[in-house]
Assembly symmetry: C2
Homo-oligomer: 353 residues x 2
């Protein structure tokens, strides 16, 4: 009876009587900012090639993600098919030899540019592709790997990690780690770079957290591009760049749905899904790349700040007017070449020869 009364009192209190004092203890909610509708012209201070990319309309069906496992597989295959001639074109123009292989059971592509710089003779980069952990299967995720191989004149091993519906969290990370461990058997870790963008940027950071857990050495340098470092939708640019970023469009769009499909019920706050919440001390030198219209601008700059606070040699490059991951869309765009020259130079500075 005593317990019941206490319980009743608590309920009554929570519902009405105690509200003023609870409210007094909680700081008052800070007022949001109401921003009127606006029309954004295509910026004039980027190359004509980048203007064409910025001028594209919002991604069609950004708010209509598949709702079934088969639906996701079909979407991934459809996008891969649509982009295959683009990847083939990049491969040809950049003169990169691409060979399929497996490393300890994980599918990979071995990329060899027609010219390997002498300083890179003993260096290798591991590439983890983007695509919200669900898209860009097989060669369709190779764009940034091709750019690094050709512009950086270095060998790249691109991990074609398992994806849903074939395998869920943490399969992508497991596969990337399998390749990293295998590479370490034959290569000085200081001669290894890791590169990835979007989900691949997150995977790059997650690999560092996992390597620390497993007592593996850090690689020589990493390039997490516009990383999906916080998939809990925390980050101001999720709001400021909503309906501005023509690739991701909205924090409530297809990429969020894909990530939850991969997470498969796992807590999205886990640093192995939202690495911004991980301990970044001891991370290797890192170069981050994003754009002013990127929905993940905040994700990227938060990781940069967190790396710097942890004492990591971290560089940030932000490109004018670009939405999510447009910095590696097409090798013929001057800003894309510029971004990869910077990444290659950063690797060259920090990797052992």
């Amino acid at each position: 009876m005593k317990t019941l009364l206490a319980g009743l009192a608590l309920v009554t209190c929570a519902a009405a009587l105690c509200m003023p004092s609870i409210a007094a203890e909680t700081p008052p909610a800070l007022p949001p900012l109401n921003v009127p509708a606006k029309t954004l012209p295509v910026p004039t201070d980027v190359s004509p090639e980048m203007q064409q990319i910025i001028a594209r309309p919002l991604r069609p069906d950004w708010d209509k993600p598949p709702t079934t496992a088969d639906g996701w597989r079909e979407l991934a295959n459809k996008i891969a098919a649509a982009g295959s001639s683009h990847i083939t074109g990049m491969t040809d123009r950049l003169r990169v030899d691409v060979q399929m292989d497996t490393i300890d059971g994980v599918k990979v592509y071995r990329l060899t540019p027609d010219q390997i710089a002498p300083r890179n003779a003993n260096r290798v980069a591991i590439h983890v592709h983007g695509g919200c952990y669900v898209l860009n299967p097989r060669s369709s995720g190779l764009a940034d790997a091709l750019l690094l191989a050709a512009i950086g004149q270095m060998k790249v091993i691109a991990v074609d990690y398992r994806m849903p519906p074939d395998a869920y969290f943490p399969a992508a990370l497991d596969d990337a780690m399998t390749v990293y461990r295998a590479v370490l058997k034959t290569t000085d870790p200081k001669k290894v770079a890791i590169i990835g963008a979007s989900a691949g940027g997150a995977l790059t950071l997650e690999m560092m957290l996992r390597a620390k857990q497993e007592g593996l050495p850090m690689p020589g340098a990493i390039a997490p591009g516009t990383p999906m470092a916080d998939v809990t939708k925390v980050g101001d640019s999720f709001q400021t760049n909503a309906m501005v970023d023509n690739v991701l469009v909205s924090p409530d769009g297809f990429c969020d749905a894909a990530t939850r499909f991969y997470a498969n019920g796992h807590d999205l706050h886990d640093p192995m899904l939202s690495p911004v919440y991980g301990d970044m001390s001891g991370f290797p030198p890192a170069i981050l790349t994003t754009g002013t219209r990127d929905l993940l601008l905040s994700n990227t700059v938060r990781v940069h700040r967190k790396l710097r606070e942890a004492g990591v040699d971290a560089a940030l490059q932000v490109f004018e007017g670009q939405s999510h991951a447009q910095f590696y869309r097409d090798d013929r765009v001057p800003e894309v070449k510029e971004a990869f020259k910077e990444i290659a130079a950063f690797f060259d500075k920090h990797l052992a020869q």
Copy 2:
């Protein structure tokens, strides 16, 4: 008669007949992006202190600049008076001694922290304040100078340059150069840093352009914070962050009016007013600072890219959720300390001892 006919033909052609072919030669206008109205919550991934700053409403009267010389002087004095206790508080908390002086006729403040780091014994920073070339007279522009003096533990000479309506373009730059030339008489240029934000960031860049013109040596390092590097309103964040940045608010606001008041009819494309159009080769190492909501985010990242293209060792830091120049607003804000620790470390790395 022949000339007259030719003239008539040209007019006729321009007005009508030739239009189709002219239009055919011009690429079709790229479609703008229509962004709906939105409500931006105060981000949760910044300190409570920064949340309070981000939560402030848009600057009152941002679209009602003075229209007379006396009006500008009154506004500058009014803002300075309103902020004087804040500057006094910062000076006291940061334990910086501030002495008025003149150098070759230019008014300056000499800032001495209570502790000068031994490595900084022979180093000095020159500070040029912000305020759209018209605001922040006398000690009201000292905030970032105080932060550098205290957090960097180094001497700072803050230039209280002449401003309209007392003196117009290029008076501010002339005064800053007078101080720079005087400092060079007694100090190794490699032991000199230059720091400024907003108009002060632009002045820092303009000083480098002017020093090159005059054959003066470059200083050891510079910190142009969120520079007004393009006052012609080119830059994507002028649009994307319009009505989002609660400090500058709009490219058509008080700061644009103040800059035109300073320019006094001079071409705003002149690199001495829009230094992004200047030749930045040979510039010293530079650290740039901005925020994701900054109206000058694009100005800042464009300067960063331009410096990197010119081969300059340039670092970029972008703070989550911050509007224009909020990175030096208050010494009690964790992100402000963080920004200045970075700037001080950058100077320490690049200045000769």
